[in-house]
Protein backbone atom coordinates (compact mmCIF):
# COMPACT_ATOMS: atom_id res chain seq x y z
CA UNK A 1 0.00 0.00 0.00
CA UNK A 2 1.44 3.30 -1.02
CA UNK A 3 1.49 5.82 1.78
CA UNK A 4 2.46 8.96 -0.06
CA UNK A 5 -0.43 10.37 -2.03
CA UNK A 6 1.00 13.64 -3.21
CA UNK A 7 4.17 15.69 -3.11
CA UNK A 8 4.02 19.42 -3.71
CA UNK A 9 6.51 22.24 -3.85
CA UNK A 10 5.23 25.78 -3.52
CA UNK A 11 7.36 28.81 -4.30
CA UNK A 12 8.02 32.00 -2.47
CA UNK A 13 4.94 33.83 -3.72
CA UNK A 14 2.74 30.80 -3.06
CA UNK A 15 2.95 29.84 -6.71
CA UNK A 16 2.96 26.10 -7.32
CA UNK A 17 6.29 24.82 -8.64
CA UNK A 18 5.58 21.15 -8.61
CA UNK A 19 2.64 18.94 -7.72
CA UNK A 20 2.69 15.24 -8.29
CA UNK A 21 0.07 12.69 -7.27
CA UNK A 22 1.10 9.13 -6.60
CA UNK A 23 -2.06 7.15 -5.89
CA UNK A 24 -3.19 5.18 -8.91
CA UNK A 25 -6.64 5.52 -10.40
CA UNK A 26 -7.28 9.01 -9.17
CA UNK A 27 -10.12 10.82 -10.86
CA UNK A 28 -9.74 14.41 -11.91
CA UNK A 29 -11.98 15.36 -9.07
CA UNK A 30 -9.71 13.66 -6.57
CA UNK A 31 -6.68 15.36 -8.03
CA UNK A 32 -8.43 18.67 -7.65
CA UNK A 33 -9.13 17.79 -4.06
CA UNK A 34 -5.43 17.18 -3.46
CA UNK A 35 -4.57 20.56 -4.89
CA UNK A 36 -7.21 22.04 -2.66
CA UNK A 37 -5.74 20.32 0.40
CA UNK A 38 -2.30 21.64 -0.43
CA UNK A 39 -3.70 25.14 -0.71
CA UNK A 40 -5.40 24.84 2.65
CA UNK A 41 -2.09 23.77 4.15
CA UNK A 42 -0.51 26.90 2.76
CA UNK A 43 -2.96 29.02 4.73
CA UNK A 44 -2.05 27.11 7.84
CA UNK A 45 1.65 27.85 7.32
CA UNK A 46 0.85 31.54 6.92
CA UNK A 47 -1.13 31.48 10.14
CA UNK A 48 1.57 29.80 12.16
CA UNK A 49 2.61 32.30 14.79
CA UNK A 50 6.11 33.67 14.52
CA UNK A 51 6.69 32.00 11.21
CA UNK A 52 7.01 35.18 9.22
CA UNK A 53 9.22 36.98 11.70
CA UNK A 54 11.90 34.75 13.04
CA UNK A 55 14.03 32.52 10.94
CA UNK A 56 13.87 29.26 12.70
CA UNK A 57 16.60 26.74 12.17
CA UNK A 58 13.97 24.06 12.35
CA UNK A 59 12.64 23.76 8.81
CA UNK A 60 10.32 20.86 9.46
CA UNK A 61 6.83 22.05 10.34
CA UNK A 62 5.23 18.76 11.31
CA UNK A 63 1.63 17.80 10.82
CA UNK A 64 -0.19 20.73 9.31
CA UNK A 65 -3.59 19.65 8.30
CA UNK A 66 -5.43 16.43 9.01
CA UNK A 67 -8.44 15.72 6.82
CA UNK A 68 -10.70 12.70 6.81
CA UNK A 69 -8.63 10.75 4.31
CA UNK A 70 -5.23 12.39 4.39
CA UNK A 71 -2.65 14.05 6.56
CA UNK A 72 -0.44 16.86 5.31
CA UNK A 73 3.10 17.42 6.53
CA UNK A 74 5.11 20.50 5.67
CA UNK A 75 8.63 21.82 5.46
CA UNK A 76 9.73 25.36 4.75
CA UNK A 77 13.15 26.58 3.75
CA UNK A 78 14.60 29.89 4.84
CA UNK A 79 14.01 31.18 1.33
CA UNK A 80 10.29 30.44 1.81
CA UNK A 81 10.05 27.49 -0.53
CA UNK A 82 7.45 25.14 0.91
CA UNK A 83 7.41 21.40 0.55
CA UNK A 84 4.33 19.34 1.29
CA UNK A 85 3.71 15.66 1.52
CA UNK A 86 0.18 14.33 1.64
CA UNK A 87 -0.03 10.87 3.17
CA UNK A 88 -2.93 8.52 3.84
CA UNK A 89 -4.67 9.05 7.14
CA UNK A 90 -4.05 5.44 8.11
CA UNK A 91 -0.30 5.62 7.74
CA UNK A 92 1.75 6.03 10.86
CA UNK A 93 5.11 7.62 10.12
CA UNK A 94 7.61 8.97 12.58
CA UNK A 95 8.62 12.64 12.49
CA UNK A 96 12.26 11.69 12.13
CA UNK A 97 11.43 9.79 8.95
CA UNK A 98 9.64 12.81 7.58
CA UNK A 99 12.64 14.97 8.32
CA UNK A 100 14.89 12.65 6.35
CA UNK A 101 12.40 12.52 3.50
CA UNK A 102 12.08 16.30 3.31
CA UNK A 103 15.81 16.74 3.48
CA UNK A 104 16.22 14.42 0.49
CA UNK A 105 13.40 16.15 -1.35
CA UNK A 106 15.06 19.49 -0.72
CA UNK A 107 18.34 18.14 -2.07
CA UNK A 108 16.60 17.02 -5.25
CA UNK A 109 15.05 20.44 -5.53
CA UNK A 110 18.44 22.11 -5.08
CA UNK A 111 19.96 19.97 -7.81
CA UNK A 112 17.12 20.85 -10.13
CA UNK A 113 17.41 24.57 -9.53
CA UNK A 114 21.12 24.27 -10.25
CA UNK A 115 20.31 23.34 -13.82
CA UNK A 116 21.30 26.40 -15.83
CA UNK A 117 18.35 25.89 -18.16
CA UNK A 118 15.82 26.09 -15.34
CA UNK A 119 14.39 29.53 -14.71
CA UNK A 120 14.10 30.02 -10.97
CA UNK A 121 10.64 30.27 -9.48
CA UNK A 122 8.94 28.70 -12.49
CA UNK A 123 7.17 25.39 -12.77
CA UNK A 124 9.53 22.43 -12.63
CA UNK A 125 9.11 20.44 -15.81
CA UNK A 126 12.25 18.36 -15.54
CA UNK A 127 11.55 14.69 -16.19
CA UNK A 128 14.66 13.76 -14.27
CA UNK A 129 13.34 15.48 -11.18
CA UNK A 130 9.97 13.81 -11.58
CA UNK A 131 11.61 10.41 -11.84
CA UNK A 132 13.74 11.04 -8.78
CA UNK A 133 10.72 12.09 -6.74
CA UNK A 134 8.88 8.97 -7.88
CA UNK A 135 11.84 6.90 -6.74
CA UNK A 136 12.01 8.73 -3.45
CA UNK A 137 8.34 8.46 -2.54
CA UNK A 138 8.30 4.79 -1.49
CA UNK A 139 11.13 5.44 0.99
CA UNK A 140 8.70 6.95 3.44
Amino acid sequence: MKKVVCVAIIGKGNNPLFIQEFATGLTDENKLKLHYIVHCSLDIIEDKPGNTKKLSSELYLGLLYPTEDYKVYGYITNSKIKFFVVVLDTSDIKDSDFKIFFKRLQNLYINTTSNPFYKPNTKIESTKFLQEVINLAPSL
Binding site: N111, T112, S114, N115, P116, F117, Y118, S126, T127, K128
Partner: protein, 179 residues
Protein backbone atom coordinates in the same frame (compact mmCIF):
# COMPACT_ATOMS: atom_id res chain seq x y z
CA UNK B 1 50.63 10.04 -12.63
CA UNK B 2 47.46 12.02 -13.21
CA UNK B 3 46.59 11.81 -9.53
CA UNK B 4 49.95 13.20 -8.47
CA UNK B 5 49.49 16.24 -10.64
CA UNK B 6 45.88 16.58 -9.56
CA UNK B 7 47.03 16.78 -5.94
CA UNK B 8 49.45 19.51 -6.86
CA UNK B 9 47.06 21.94 -8.54
CA UNK B 10 44.80 24.41 -6.80
CA UNK B 11 41.17 23.43 -6.59
CA UNK B 12 37.91 25.29 -6.53
CA UNK B 13 34.48 24.23 -5.44
CA UNK B 14 33.03 22.05 -8.18
CA UNK B 15 29.54 23.52 -7.85
CA UNK B 16 30.89 27.02 -8.34
CA UNK B 17 32.66 25.78 -11.44
CA UNK B 18 29.63 23.94 -12.82
CA UNK B 19 27.24 26.81 -12.19
CA UNK B 20 29.61 29.37 -13.65
CA UNK B 21 29.93 27.35 -16.82
CA UNK B 22 26.16 26.88 -16.91
CA UNK B 23 25.62 30.62 -16.63
CA UNK B 24 28.12 31.17 -19.42
CA UNK B 25 26.42 28.76 -21.80
CA UNK B 26 22.92 30.06 -21.13
CA UNK B 27 24.12 33.62 -21.60
CA UNK B 28 25.67 32.68 -24.94
CA UNK B 29 22.41 31.10 -26.03
CA UNK B 30 20.58 34.26 -25.07
CA UNK B 31 23.07 36.47 -26.91
CA UNK B 32 23.46 34.49 -30.10
CA UNK B 33 20.08 32.75 -30.39
CA UNK B 34 21.56 30.52 -33.07
CA UNK B 35 22.75 27.28 -31.48
CA UNK B 36 25.37 26.65 -34.14
CA UNK B 37 26.94 30.01 -33.28
CA UNK B 38 26.98 29.05 -29.61
CA UNK B 39 28.87 25.85 -30.39
CA UNK B 40 31.43 27.80 -32.41
CA UNK B 41 31.82 30.46 -29.73
CA UNK B 42 32.32 27.85 -27.00
CA UNK B 43 34.99 26.20 -29.11
CA UNK B 44 36.77 29.52 -29.62
CA UNK B 45 36.67 30.27 -25.91
CA UNK B 46 38.11 26.85 -25.25
CA UNK B 47 40.85 27.47 -27.78
CA UNK B 48 41.85 30.65 -25.99
CA UNK B 49 41.92 28.76 -22.72
CA UNK B 50 43.85 25.88 -24.22
CA UNK B 51 46.71 27.91 -25.62
CA UNK B 52 47.35 29.26 -22.12
CA UNK B 53 46.58 26.13 -20.19
CA UNK B 54 49.21 24.08 -21.96
CA UNK B 55 51.95 26.12 -20.25
CA UNK B 56 50.67 25.27 -16.83
CA UNK B 57 50.20 21.68 -17.86
CA UNK B 58 53.76 21.32 -19.08
CA UNK B 59 55.17 23.11 -16.05
CA UNK B 60 53.34 21.03 -13.47
CA UNK B 61 53.24 17.62 -15.09
CA UNK B 62 56.89 17.38 -16.17
CA UNK B 63 55.88 15.45 -19.24
CA UNK B 64 58.32 15.44 -22.10
CA UNK B 65 57.68 15.12 -25.79
CA UNK B 66 55.29 12.33 -26.73
CA UNK B 67 56.65 9.62 -29.00
CA UNK B 68 53.55 9.48 -31.15
CA UNK B 69 50.01 10.76 -31.36
CA UNK B 70 48.67 7.81 -29.40
CA UNK B 71 50.82 8.69 -26.44
CA UNK B 72 49.47 12.20 -26.70
CA UNK B 73 45.97 10.74 -26.52
CA UNK B 74 46.77 8.85 -23.33
CA UNK B 75 48.39 11.89 -21.75
CA UNK B 76 45.35 14.05 -22.51
CA UNK B 77 42.95 11.45 -21.20
CA UNK B 78 44.81 10.38 -18.08
CA UNK B 79 46.82 13.43 -17.06
CA UNK B 80 45.27 16.46 -18.75
CA UNK B 81 41.68 15.73 -17.86
CA UNK B 82 42.65 14.59 -14.38
CA UNK B 83 44.66 17.70 -13.72
CA UNK B 84 42.06 20.25 -14.72
CA UNK B 85 38.74 18.47 -14.31
CA UNK B 86 39.54 15.79 -11.76
CA UNK B 87 38.24 13.00 -13.99
CA UNK B 88 39.88 10.71 -16.48
CA UNK B 89 38.75 9.86 -19.98
CA UNK B 90 39.09 6.63 -21.92
CA UNK B 91 40.78 6.49 -25.28
CA UNK B 92 39.11 4.24 -27.83
CA UNK B 93 38.99 3.65 -31.57
CA UNK B 94 42.56 4.50 -32.35
CA UNK B 95 43.01 4.10 -36.05
CA UNK B 96 46.00 2.18 -37.41
CA UNK B 97 47.53 5.31 -38.96
CA UNK B 98 47.74 6.85 -35.50
CA UNK B 99 46.05 10.00 -36.65
CA UNK B 100 42.71 9.74 -34.94
CA UNK B 101 41.20 8.73 -31.61
CA UNK B 102 38.05 9.10 -29.55
CA UNK B 103 37.91 10.28 -25.98
CA UNK B 104 35.09 8.85 -23.90
CA UNK B 105 34.11 10.90 -20.88
CA UNK B 106 32.28 8.81 -18.32
CA UNK B 107 32.13 11.58 -15.82
CA UNK B 108 32.06 15.23 -16.78
CA UNK B 109 31.86 17.85 -14.03
CA UNK B 110 30.64 20.46 -16.53
CA UNK B 111 27.30 18.73 -16.92
CA UNK B 112 26.40 18.08 -13.29
CA UNK B 113 22.80 19.21 -12.71
CA UNK B 114 22.30 20.04 -16.38
CA UNK B 115 19.26 18.84 -18.26
CA UNK B 116 19.03 20.06 -21.83
CA UNK B 117 15.64 21.30 -23.00
CA UNK B 118 14.24 19.22 -25.88
CA UNK B 119 14.81 21.91 -28.49
CA UNK B 120 18.56 21.93 -27.88
CA UNK B 121 19.11 18.19 -27.92
CA UNK B 122 21.44 16.97 -30.67
CA UNK B 123 22.08 20.60 -31.58
CA UNK B 124 23.90 22.16 -28.71
CA UNK B 125 27.17 20.61 -27.67
CA UNK B 126 27.12 21.84 -24.14
CA UNK B 127 30.70 20.91 -23.30
CA UNK B 128 32.09 22.06 -26.64
CA UNK B 129 34.57 24.21 -24.75
CA UNK B 130 36.56 21.02 -24.11
CA UNK B 131 37.11 20.58 -27.85
CA UNK B 132 38.54 24.05 -28.04
CA UNK B 133 40.81 23.47 -25.08
CA UNK B 134 42.25 20.32 -26.66
CA UNK B 135 42.72 22.02 -30.01
CA UNK B 136 44.37 25.07 -28.47
CA UNK B 137 46.65 23.10 -26.21
CA UNK B 138 47.82 20.74 -28.95
CA UNK B 139 48.43 23.57 -31.35
CA UNK B 140 50.92 25.01 -28.90
CA UNK B 141 52.87 21.79 -29.03
CA UNK B 142 53.00 21.72 -32.82
CA UNK B 143 50.01 19.53 -33.48
CA UNK B 144 47.16 20.86 -35.54
CA UNK B 145 44.08 18.83 -34.71
CA UNK B 146 40.41 18.89 -35.46
CA UNK B 147 38.31 18.19 -32.43
CA UNK B 148 34.58 17.50 -32.55
CA UNK B 149 31.87 16.30 -30.21
CA UNK B 150 30.37 13.14 -31.63
CA UNK B 151 27.99 12.24 -28.84
CA UNK B 152 26.77 13.93 -25.71
CA UNK B 153 25.08 12.34 -22.71
CA UNK B 154 22.87 15.40 -22.39
CA UNK B 155 21.23 14.53 -25.70
CA UNK B 156 20.24 11.10 -24.33
CA UNK B 157 23.18 9.36 -25.89
CA UNK B 158 25.05 6.71 -23.97
CA UNK B 159 28.34 8.50 -23.47
CA UNK B 160 30.19 11.69 -24.19
CA UNK B 161 32.47 11.13 -27.13
CA UNK B 162 35.05 13.60 -28.42
CA UNK B 163 36.75 12.81 -31.70
CA UNK B 164 40.26 14.14 -32.23
CA UNK B 165 41.86 14.00 -35.68
CA UNK B 166 45.47 14.95 -36.29
CA UNK B 167 45.61 17.15 -39.36
CA UNK B 168 49.27 17.98 -39.52
CA UNK B 169 52.33 18.25 -37.37
CA UNK B 170 53.49 21.83 -37.55
CA UNK B 171 57.15 22.37 -38.10
CA UNK B 172 59.13 23.58 -35.13
CA UNK B 173 60.47 26.39 -37.27
CA UNK B 174 57.18 28.23 -37.50
CA UNK B 175 56.74 30.65 -34.65
CA UNK B 176 54.09 29.38 -32.25
CA UNK B 177 50.58 30.58 -33.03
CA UNK B 178 51.63 32.03 -36.36
CA UNK B 179 49.44 30.67 -39.10
Amino acid sequence: MGTDVFNKVEKINSELFTLTYGALVTQLIKDYEDIEQVNIKLEQMGYNIGIRLIEEFLAKSNIGRCADFMETAEVIAKVGFKMFLGVTATVIDQDPDKREFHLILDDNPLIDFVELPEQYKHKLYYSNILCGVIRGALEMVQMKVKCTFMKCTLSDETSSDIKVVLEEVLSDMIPVGYD
